[in-house]
């Protein structure tokens, strides 16, 4: 995808928590270009700064060094919408109002047209008949589908997903991955997707970027040229899927062991 102008350009970005010199260096001078309409998955060991990176895209953190540029092409569309790992549906709003929240909050609500859009995504996520319910009346999977409906209904130029399925049980996760793939193939907005699941990354992404253990750097970028539309069950049976997942693990396994050792050292140091 290189050569195109990036939708998102990350230029020498570092993030240090606490003291600039002695603080915890979460991300170390990373560069990344994400093309318009590209679905990029970022994988890496725990604590490698991948969540921090996506939170910077979302405007929730600021880089300590470097710059992130996101092209905001259409002012009628919000720039980003984030789907969080935790439950993030507002308990005080109905399902319908939750799904409409993004459009209303960002001031891009356009009456009937927006309502149609919200209803469409409620239908797509199977929540339309629950639109007058409150989140506390829904199951965990439904609440996460509501977050997805809210983000898609917002019609952002970039969709940000921070391990959106991590809290779900394995079987629900499989279904949601497929539903997300179908939904995305319809709209093809730019997506940044953080995950621990290598199979999830291969299944969903156009490209998988691997981060090192802390301080996080990009150590590998893997193009996933599996054909779309991707049907989860079929894709998983192909030898290419297995090979790509294994290739990712070859790169990542070493980093995970490093991260474990770092963690052990840190805990021991803190204990002294």
């Amino acid at each position: 995808m290189t050569g195109k102008t990036g939708k998102i350009e990350v230029d020498g970005v570092a993030k240090v928590f606490g003291d600039p010199q002695r603080g915890f260096r979460a991300i170390d001078k990373v560069d990344l270009t994400i093309a318009d309409g590209e679905f990029v998955c970022i994988v890496g060991p725990s604590g490698c700064g991948k969540s921090t990176l996506i939170r910077m895209f979302a405007g929730l953190e600021h880089p300590s060094e470097g710059q992130i540029r996101i092209a905001h092409d259409n002012p009628d569309r919000p720039m980003t919408a984030m789907i969080f790992q935790q439950e993030s549906a507002f308990p005080w709003l109905t399902v319908a109002d939750n799904a409409a929240y993004g459009l209303r909050a960002s001031g891009t609500w356009r009456g009937a047209e927006s309502q149609e859009r919200v209803d469409y995504f409620l239908q797509k996520t199977g929540l339309y008949s629950f639109r007058d319910f409150r989140p506390d009346q829904l199951s965990g999977g439904m609440k996460q589908r509501l977050s997805i409906a809210r983000a898609f209904a917002t019609n952002p130029e970039v969709l940000l997903m921070d391990e959106p399925f991590a809290a779900l049980d394995e079987q629900n996760k499989l279904i949601m991955q497929e539903e997300l793939a179908t939904l995305w193939e319809e709209f093809r907005s730019t997506v940044v997707f953080i995950t621990h699941g290598l199979d999830e990354a291969v299944l969903l992404g156009d490209r998988v970027v691997v981060m090192s253990s802390a301080p996080g750097r990009f150590i590998h970028s893997l193009e996933i040229d599996l054909p779309r539309p991707r049907k989860s069950a079929e894709i998983r049976r192909t030898p290419e899927f297995g090979a790509l997942t294994a290739e990712l693990w070859d790169i990542l396994g070493h980093e995970v062991r490093t991260a474990r050792q770092q963690e052990a050292d840190r805990i021991q140091a803190a204990g002294r």
Binding site: Q86, F90, D136
Partner: protein
């Protein structure tokens, strides 16, 4: 020798309210207490000059409920509580929200509130009498000051305990300050606001009675004090009864409002 442990419904804990003679046990205990009191009063085991029989108190109560004075007292007392509550709660909620949302406001006000909150508000009454005179205003303000502090502190606690994720959703979607205030901070603070209200209703009653003891010539508290000066003990007890019923009524009213306004905030019941 081997034994068999049977696990079936027979050992399951019983559900629902415990009942004695078909009545909930919470209703039995006051009835038993009142019954014992009645017997003690009638047999002369307690001095009816100080502890008149419940039946006597009830009879006095019914008689007083026919008089305009009784309803006048009740009306003015409710008015003092209501006005004091509104005067204190509205600014209290606003300041609490501002403290929760804006760090400078929090840093500026936190020490001030921590220092002023523990002062028993009734101690300010003489000052308030000087400023506002002996009329209704000084009574409203005494109750309002107390309500203000309780609502500020509890609203602030409500905003602060709202999970950060909801603010992040609003921020990510570029919601304006005002939108965030109205769609996240306020609903997030509502459980805290109701906790504050619950405490306010109790303390407002205490202050009401204290204020009416000292500077009023009407109201339920005044009537209790007046009953002492003329030694009408039955009337005094009717006053206690009215205060108790008010307290219970306020508590139910707040519960009812809470269920109505924040149905998503369910108490963890077994």
């Amino acid at each position: 020798m081997a034994t068999i442990e049977t696990i079936d419904v027979s050992r399951a804990p019983r559900k629902g309210t415990r009942r004695v003679l078909g009545m909930p046990i919470g209703l039995i205990s006051p009835i038993v207490l009142l019954g014992l009191w009645e017997i003690a009063a009638r047999t002369g085991a307690v001095n009816v000059t100080f502890f008149p029989a419940p039946s006597t108190i009830l009879a006095t109560g019914f008689a007083q409920a026919q008089t305009a004075q009784f309803w006048g007292d009740l009306g003015i007392s409710l008015q003092r509580i209501a006005v004091g509550l509104v005067m204190g709660a509205v600014p209290g909620v606003l300041v609490g929200l501002a403290m929760g949302l804006f760090r400078p406001v929090r840093e500026a006000l936190n020490p001030l509130i921590a220092a002023l909150f523990p002062i028993p508000k009734i101690a300010l009454l003489p000052l308030l009498l000087l400023i506002f005179g002996i009329g209704e205003t000084s009574k409203y303000v005494t109750i309002a000051i107390n309500v203000f502090f309780l609502m500020t502190i509890n609203t602030f606690a409500g905003v602060v305990s709202t999970p950060k994720i909801y603010f992040e959703v609003a921020r990510n979607l570029k919601a304006s300050r005002l939108k965030t205030y109205l769609t996240v901070a306020l609903p997030g603070a509502l459980p805290g606001i109701f906790t504050g209200l619950r405490i306010c209703m109790g303390t407002a009653l205490i202050l009401l009675v204290a204020v009416e003891f000292s500077t009023a010539d009407s109201g339920v508290g005044y009537r209790i004090w007046w009953a002492w000066t003329v030694f009408w003990v039955d009337t005094m007890y009717v006053g206690f009864l009215v205060i108790a019923i008010l307290g219970l009524g306020f508590s139910y009213a707040v519960d009812f409002l809470e269920r109505l306004v924040i149905p998503w905030h369910r108490k963890h019941e077994r």
